[in-house]
Subunit: 448 residues, 2 copies
Amino acid sequence: MKVAKFGGSSVANAEQLIKVGNIIKSDPKRKFIVVSAPGKRFAGDAKMTDMLIQLGEAFHNDDDYELYLSAVMARFSEIIEGLRVNDDIYAEIETGIKMALAAKGSMESKMDAIKATGEDSSAKILSAYLNSVGLSAYYINPQEAGIIVSDEPGNARILPESFDKIYSLHNEEGILVIPGFFGYTKDGKLATFSRGGSDITGSIIAAGVKAEMYENFTDVDSVYTVNPNIVSHPKEITTLTYKEMRELSYAGFSVFHDEALIPAFREKIPVCIKNTNNPDAPGTLIVAEKETSEKCVVGIASDTGFCSLYVSKFLMNREVGFGRKLLNIFEDEGISFEHAPSGIDDMSVIFRDKKFTPEKEKVVVDRIKEELKVDTVSIHRDLAVIMVVGEGLVNTIGVAQKATTAFSNANVNIEMINQGSSEVSMMFGIQAADLNDAIQSLYTSFFS
Amino acid sequence: MKVAKFGGSSVANAEQLIKVGNIIKSDPKRKFIVVSAPGKRFAGDAKMTDMLIQLGEAFHNDDDYELYLSAVMARFSEIIEGLRVNDDIYAEIETGIKMALAAKGSMESKMDAIKATGEDSSAKILSAYLNSVGLSAYYINPQEAGIIVSDEPGNARILPESFDKIYSLHNEEGILVIPGFFGYTKDGKLATFSRGGSDITGSIIAAGVKAEMYENFTDVDSVYTVNPNIVSHPKEITTLTYKEMRELSYAGFSVFHDEALIPAFREKIPVCIKNTNNPDAPGTLIVAEKETSEKCVVGIASDTGFCSLYVSKFLMNREVGFGRKLLNIFEDEGISFEHAPSGIDDMSVIFRDKKFTPEKEKVVVDRIKEELKVDTVSIHRDLAVIMVVGEGLVNTIGVAQKATTAFSNANVNIEMINQGSSEVSMMFGIQAADLNDAIQSLYTSFFS
């Protein structure tokens, strides 16, 4: 039995939903269907979730919200008409939205309820459509499905007791269509996951019902070996391990938020990334373990927005506790560090710079000077991080050589290398300005 | 004005001391002379310091110490006769040793005083010899010279107030001959530096008198680019910076204990390593700064006896403070860590394994499991660390490539790379068993 999740572009309009119907019909194992809210139909189009946020804000601010409501309903109407399903559903959706707008409670909880109508309506429409083409499908509300979450509006976390409840669904007859993105607190209050949370719902359902596979339908054929915005038409990855996926996601692979997959990973459920627009393509399979091959590098990920702080102090390595004290200052200031490589008399701390405001920088630098009596401290922004990822890489002679040769060929200076801490990746730090050249050259070395 | 320090092999017998006399005579700037105790005259010979330790222990244990005393005096007698200096000095040395044996005080302090007679006697003999060949030389006791140290027998540290006192020596007439290895506490008690402490005395005197150079005479022509026990007849290093020296010394360069040079480094005094047996060779100059050249790698150092501890924990990188907590456990257990590279969900801690007993290992591993709830923790002993060292290395494209290619050519797997924390070095971790192959290959790549 499979759980299939369809993302925003897969439910953006009637045409896409018809494809979804065909996909579900083609494999009777697809028994649990999780859907997002309608996404963009074309570049520049609005996503339903954003439209609902605008609606909610207008209503809250006593602006003319009717205009926004009409736009929302027009999108749903277009879908309903295109699928030729019963018109009653239109009224049902409109009532749902109006109830969410009129509900009492905190602003955050209200916004959660308004946003959730996007996924909820998608699920109702798809369920009606599946029935219209002869499948036995049932809409099921997340509360009924057993998705119990923490009381953190906009950032809810699944509670462990959910999984037993969800497991009881596995005996249900027919196809269950579940809206993604939200659950209910123990007190019955709706709360959404973080943005992109339909992936989380799919993963939770897959873990709960102990599915044989969690299929994640998007608009790309597979996960690529490298960012297609940097290298055109890069090779596809056929199989990835969870660990490889984690490392790739860390540095900018944006097919989906890898942490969404954690519930599925924990139950060792294989995850398949597939394309709604090309369902016959094999997609990318993400598994707990795979046999290692000689060509061990599976992908190269990269991300910008890193910052490094360098300190040097004569005889640092004789000072027990220096590293701990330095990291303590970062912790105190709420900055999560990524890496902290150290030499004899020097140490660097690498972190993402988005939270590192100039004010924060001053506090951190002053504290380091004051408390650690260092000789020098300097900050270096605009770093890019590149991860070369693959199981077995740590035991394969010559991978470091191949990678460093690629940087040399691209005439790119390597500011930082971190290998050996992770068993499946090798990390390089370079100037952000050199990123495209470096990635092109690495791709050529490892994949062509 | 220069400070010249002569090590044990340079004062091992009359023949060597005659060379020392010629070296001093050949450059009138050599005004401050620091000497070690007589070292080995041939492979398998005893060093005077070890003979004195045996003497002290025999005396302490009420064994027949006379035998040991005779052996000590026979060595001095041979030197005195060979140099044809006044016989009175023999009686003076014997009295000095007997007084040290008979003194009151703690066992440790007594042993310090007994050991110190080795250097003290060397200085007296050399001073007499220099006078006999027509130079105006004076023996000066460390107390008189102003070397005031902490009250830590066998491991004394120089006190900051010493330097002003020592500075007043710079106006003295003639050549001052100072025994290395010991100083006096504020209470006038003799205390020795750690073993090899004559280098420390030389460095302190150089810093104190603000010498234009500190010459360190040994029995090798220079510092070599790589360990001569691994690569035969390696190239010599002509100029090194302090930073480069620090990094090389860290990983096994044993020409001398680099921390001995700290007082000289602090005053930016150039240090020259020279050979008593070949004083015309230029030696190796160690300076504060040098111009960087294209061939930026100056040396390759290596050392064994490292250990790594690896931990992995799913979602580690979301846990603020994880790294700090891990290092805290090391600190609590008194283990100074060398490096702590980290990945997304994993972190390694590299440290020297000599203090890491099986009992300590158990405590550390148990605490990590208990307090950090990690998924896995493993220990990996028998690691070797290789440092590729050179100023400018961090900004030179292709150094990493050259190094990693050398490892590949030697068919050696790189377990760990740490680059970018230090500005002057690149660190590699490999299996200790692969060390010689790797060093040979690196030497070929960078120096031939």
